[in-house]
Amino acid sequence: MTSAAGQIALQAVPAALGALVARRQLSGDIAEGEEDEASYPDELFLMFAGALYFAMNLASTEEMRLIAYLATPLGAVGLLFLSVVLLHLIVFEAGFAGQDEKATPLRAFLDYTLPGYAFCLSASFAMLWTFGGLDGHGLQSVAANVVVLAFPASLGAAAARLLV
């Protein structure tokens, strides 16, 4: 019974985030320009929620751990830079609907991309810890696992920033 309640509670989190996205995308009564009124903490929170959504769905999979074990430390550093670049490009440079046009690239990188990626790392760490994915791991293995999971999490953060 306790296990069932725990599983339902865990499943409810991505379900709630999915409902949030659906409401934002499918609801017709949201006025144009309303998203421009989101404050800076709100926008960071959205990125964190997006990162959490992707990290939660992938942290329990065996493949993420296998990729982390197979990756060399240099490969993991490369993946980290790729994640940061993609997070920045998708939100600010790729020209998708909803991207912020007010900030200069450097300002956007400092204000959103760097804190956003830190949130991706935090969400990945939290989800791996929740699912026992870091049990018995050394510091370097922890870093590799977190960076590998932060790659899809950064795509989730970028998507949340644009969609929600």
Binding site: R65, T72, L80, R107, G138, Q140
Partner: protein
């Protein structure tokens, strides 16, 4: 009726933005530092050892919890652990033991008396 045009909003950088940028930079650099330390050093192969950490009696025999420690930098996959008590030899396999990490396995012995198993790592593979 004329409408007054509102002046352009000048984006100022708040303390919160500076703090978030700094925190994001520090967290990212910390993780890069952790990985870079390993990237530019020699990676030691897996160095595995096993020892019993607890033992209890159950209906199927003696349950022995075995902790496997990896002192190397690289992850070992398919780690085979063998335990021996008298003529009885049992074994189990761990999927992965990460570098500088540890994992726990369980061996079951059917001996009547409390066993003192000889534990050894039979082998492993690369992930």
């Amino acid at each position: 009726m004329t409408r007054r045009k509102s002046p352009p909003v000048r984006r100022t950088v708040s303390r919160l933005q500076c703090a978030c940028a700094l925190a994001g930079f520090l967290v990212t650099v910390f993780v890069i530092g952790l990985l870079a330390r390993s990237a530019f050093g020699d990676m030691e192969p897996p160095d595995l050892s096993a020892h019993a950490v607890s033992m209890r009696r159950s209906s199927i025999g003696w349950i022995v919890a075995v902790k496997v420690t990896n002192g190397g930098d690289l992850t070992a996959a398919g780690v085979e652990i063998e335990g021996e008590v008298g003529d009885e030899r049992v074994g189990t396999t761990l999927d992965y033991v990460p570098g500088h990490g540890e994992k726990q396995a369980t061996l079951v012995f059917t001996a009547a008396d409390r066993p003192a198993p000889q534990l050894r790592i039979a082998g492993w593979s690369e992930p």
